[in-house]
Symmetry: C2
């Protein structure tokens, strides 16, 4: 999601035209991450990110035109480190392990607050809605889609059920995030068993 | 969700202490409903509701301490009129009809925008989160819970699966609302069949 910064010699946190100063970018993302953790969505502003990072608002807006873009950047920079994708051939176990890791990640890293902010922001502006639906979601549901498609390839479910199951999984995980119930891990296995299940009567 | 206004003789839209002036209340709710429809969550403010309703901000805040309370009031006043609860003894048909009616209601009434606003607001303040989770949700999931419990009583699913199925249903419907895909009605039946399904291997 983040354009790889082109390394250039630079000391000060100033804009260098269309290329990004990696030092400034790091400072901006760190400030954004801290701010969403400390103050949540209601207290998040680009003004305050700029102040903390010692960066210009114009620079931040050039790199991240909307708050949604900043939230996606916060989320994406941390995500791959903390949520391993299990692959053991048992769909229910895979979904349970993956969902448990993801909820831990959301609950204990700024990414969780960033995703809550992204979803909230998407209720206010069409640009944020498009960023969430068309840019963030396809990337972020790829792992679960792969687990379900592999299970379909093994004959454990029908390929034409995968889309509905991905939607059920996203909806359930978002719902628990949005109502602040990520601690409620006991329900994960039971729900993943229902998502993994094949319909009999169709 | 709304305290029944005590009828009192009143002509002007002014506060009358702890009792509500029904004329003012109607004007406030109508203004809130129009504003969320026209401007969405990002353009919604109590200031503007007060201006349009010709009411005092203090009065509005006394009746609706947070934006979340206003969103719930908008939702609740219209909801019962437009979403019939089917009862025909076929769980999949019931869930499909109910979900289709609900999505129509969300897409074509201010209630949909109000719910999006309520969920967004809940990502910003603990009061709004509690209003959503502890006050709004139990009421608004009662119909689906009843359909599922009746099916359990008929022996079509296990009673201990009802909670997980309610969570799957809420999550899926919210997800489609939050990403602006309520027009995507073709998926409803397939997803409801999966939610209605009993697990075999448990």
């Amino acid at each position: 999601m983040i354009t790889k910064p082109t390394p250039v010699p630079a000391k000060k946190r100033t804009s260098i035209g269309s290329r990004r100063n990696p030092e400034t970018e790091t400072a901006v993302l760190a400030a954004a991450r801290d701010l969403i953790s400390e103050r949540g969505y209601a207290g998040f502003s680009v003004d305050e990110v700029a102040r903390r990072a010692g960066a210009g608002k114009t620079t931040i807006y050039r790199w991240y035109p909307t708050k949604a873009d900043l939230f996606i950047a916060i989320y994406t920079t941390e995500r791959s480190t903390f949520v391993p994708v299990p692959e053991n051939g048992n769909l229910i176990d895979e979904l349970e392990q993956y969902t448990t890791s993801l909820w831990h990640f959301w609950a204990s890293h700024p990414a969780g607050a960033a995703l809550r902010g992204l979803i909230a922001e998407a209720q206010g502006t069409p640009e944020a809605l498009s960023a969430l639906r068309d840019r963030f979601l396809p990337d972020r549901t790829a792992d679960v889609r792969r687990m379900l498609s592999s299970a379909a390839a093994r004959g454990e479910l029908r390929a034409d059920e995968v889309d509905a199951k991905v939607a059920l999984w996203v909806g359930f995980s978002w719902y628990k995030l949005l109502v602040g119930e990520l601690h409620d891990e006991d329900v994960i296995r039971s729900v993943m068993m229902q998502i993994a299940e094949v319909r009999r009567n169709s």
